[in-house]
Point group: none
Chain length 411, copies 2
């Protein structure tokens, strides 16, 4: 089965928005064995958009249009589909329900302008959108499938996964491309690649490394007749990479480091308190991104000034003055302090210099210490990170969570 993606939006042509929808849909379609043939980006122009849809219908079996489903006059994907196929749009009660629910949940009346979103081709299947006002459209005509999806990824992705995937699964068959991503942190990219260098260039499956902020992703991709065959191709290579990289591999595919740490805390029935300086609340934020985080997360203190390290975390003023706030001694004292204060199984701390200011000759920007107080042990880790202030905050949080992950795996 062949696919054709039409991305609609002048902001994409002006380079104001990165077309991550094309990347996402490309991955998803490949996973379904649908061969994405072309991606074309068109501005908010009715004629040109209709022409692209028409060309898609000639070249492929499945045409997806992303964007242009909002309520404003710029949102012309519905009209372009009708023009391309020479059909008319009709009032669609299910579409109305989707849009209406968005407003009624907020206790609001539906603005007149949103009534454009009630329109769809007769016989279309409406795709639900719990995160926005735009209903999606699935429409078959002359043996081809036409799909309209909203532009914002937070609406497009759930609509694709919840509404479209079941419909498309029935349509596609045969050769599939399947990927497994192994996620690695706590080691630099060159060092990680050196460990698996000889595994990186097989033809099928392939291994492609990608450096992300504070982690490395190794994507193993196989092409085979059916998902099971592809998974069987991947399995031995995945096993070899996992063995070589050991506890640097924290997860796979959609796993996040905070999610994996949260899972271990919950599994072991442990609670945690976090004392942060340079990360400014980011570690607490990440640990509370996981649904149900109140099971393990108790208390976070962002003790930006030494005053609070002393009064709230019980760090000795003498140690602060003698060693400085960015020191292994203070990292440990903060971890012990938050654990005692919050009465948790674990105290985790981060103290460092996020920059661009605040560095001294002995303590450069990016110097970070992380402390763990867990059971009867106190551990401290030191790292020298690089990047912008936000990079260093992120990498510090990444690195503190990775140390905690490795500790939790040991016990």
């Amino acid at each position: 089965m062949k696919g054709y993606l039409v991305s609609s939006g002048t902001e994409l042509l002006l380079g104001q928005t990165v077309n991550t929808n094309a990347t996402y849909l490309g991955q998803q379609l490949a996973g379904l064995g649908i061969d994405l043939h072309t991606v074309i980006t068109i501005g908010d122009n009715l004629e040109r958009l209709a022409e692209a849809i028409r060309q898609g219908g000639e070249a492929a079996d499945l045409v997806i249009v992303s964007g242009g489903l909002g309520p404003t006059e710029d949102d012309i994907s519905r009209e372009a589909l009708a023009l391309a196929l020479n059909i008319t749009l009709q009032y669609h009660p299910t579409a109305k329900e989707v849009t209406e629910r968005f407003f009624t949940r907020r206790g609001l009346d539906i603005p007149k302008v949103n009534e454009r979103q009630f329109l769809a081709p007769s016989g279309a299947v409406i795709l639900d959108n719990p995160f926005g006002t735009a209903p999606g459209v699935y429409y078959e005509r002359h043996g081809k499938i036409y799909i309209l999806l909203p532009g914002p990824p937070r609406e497009l992705i759930p609509m694709f996964e919840n509404e479209l995937l079941p419909l498309l699964h029935n349509k596609s068959a045969g050769t599939v491309i399947f990927s497994r991503v192994l996620k690695v942190a706590g080691i630099g990219e060159p060092a990680a690649e050196a460990k698996i260098k000889d595994l990186i260039h097989s033809a099928n499956p392939t291994v492609a490394p990608a450096a992300k902020r504070g982690e490395i992703h190794f994507r193993i991709t196989a092409k085979a007749e059916g998902i099971e065959a592809a998974k069987n191709l991947i399995a031995p290579l995945e096993k070899a990479i996992r063995e070589r990289l050991g506890s640097y591999v924290f997860g796979q595919d959609q796993d996040s480091l905070e999610g994996v740490v949260a899972g271990l805390l919950r599994e072991k029935g442990l609670t945690i308190g976090v004392a942060e300086s340079c990360t400014g609340g980011l570690v607490a934020h990440r640990l509370t991104n996981i649904p149900g985080s109140s099971d393990y997360f108790q208390l976070g203190i962002v003790a930006y000034h030494n005053l609070w390290k002393e009064s709230l975390l019980n760090v000795s003023g003498e140690v602060l003055r003698a060693k400085g706030a960015v020191s292994p001694e203070v990292a440990i004292a903060m971890a012990k302090g938050i654990r005692a204060k919050a009465n948790t199984s674990i105290g985790l701390s981060v103290t460092g210099i996020a920059g661009p200011g605040g560095a001294t000759a002995e303590k450069p920007v990016g110097l970070v210490y992380s402390g763990i107080d867990f059971g009867d042990r106190q551990l401290v880790f030191k790292e020298q990170l690089v990047g912008s202030r936000q990079d260093i905050k992120w990498r510090s949080s990444q690195w503190a969570l990775m140390q905690l992950y490795q500790e939790l795996k040991k016990n």
Copy 2:
């Protein structure tokens, strides 16, 4: 002048690489006043690539092909250009120099396979590439310009800026596109648009709304002969929008809400403490993302459990039991509590239900209160937000910062 971009590479269609070249080139061409008409992504298929180049030559004055200039058999952009224009490729001594230098600098012989990179149309201008083996190609034919650029951004960007920009500057003469983005929060997209509806459809300058997470961006774009003329076209429209939207406009262009709030705090010499429940540290994280945040940020407490709201923020246990943690009374008490604890000019609090669990009949997921204790006033705001847990956390932080912004603007 119209532009047409052909992105070549199967990895783009499979979603293994994000097409950031399209974003970069879109921005650059807009800055040159070249109107990018279409971006089309094609796999490594000679016929289809040639067809896309042919279509580009029909639709536009300038056709750029990115990718496909490497030495392997997948790299077919040179051949596709020749096929599209029905010309032949020839050995080009300058192309050879570019490729050769890459190897000789490393003390290597040129591999046989790289000899394909010596080929170019007769009469083409070769674009230098100090960062790779692939020479770029600039070629004019029948009044149209065809450009071949390498795919890796670290090669494409310097080649564009150093080699191509001077050539294109002479061609595009005069007309530029200039944009100003006004950033709006604390109001829904439909309500904001309704206020400026009649301003949205002028032809030049245009106004395009874009809904981001927790904010709306209105992009005003003008096309004119030179930057100053474009700015003059934008000014009256910008003024009108600012007047209509008033204090919902928090910033412009690269401004972030936390950056603007930080600027006001610093300007007024104010300090802040933050008490968070549902946002889990995100407000503190955002306020400490700004370099030099220790000027105004003092202390953050993530009081996830009621115990900490009582003991660290001095919220009355009676009120917690009677009204619940997600209530206006507790929001105010938290704001007062953190201000007193941290001894700051301002106390800011957020308490709410981020979901997906934790809701009751009276208190649905997304219900959020934010409190401000500032001067001799205590303010509390209520909002019903929607989305995933992370959306609600973000929108809550956005909305608390926006209330603070509006308070700071008043005083």
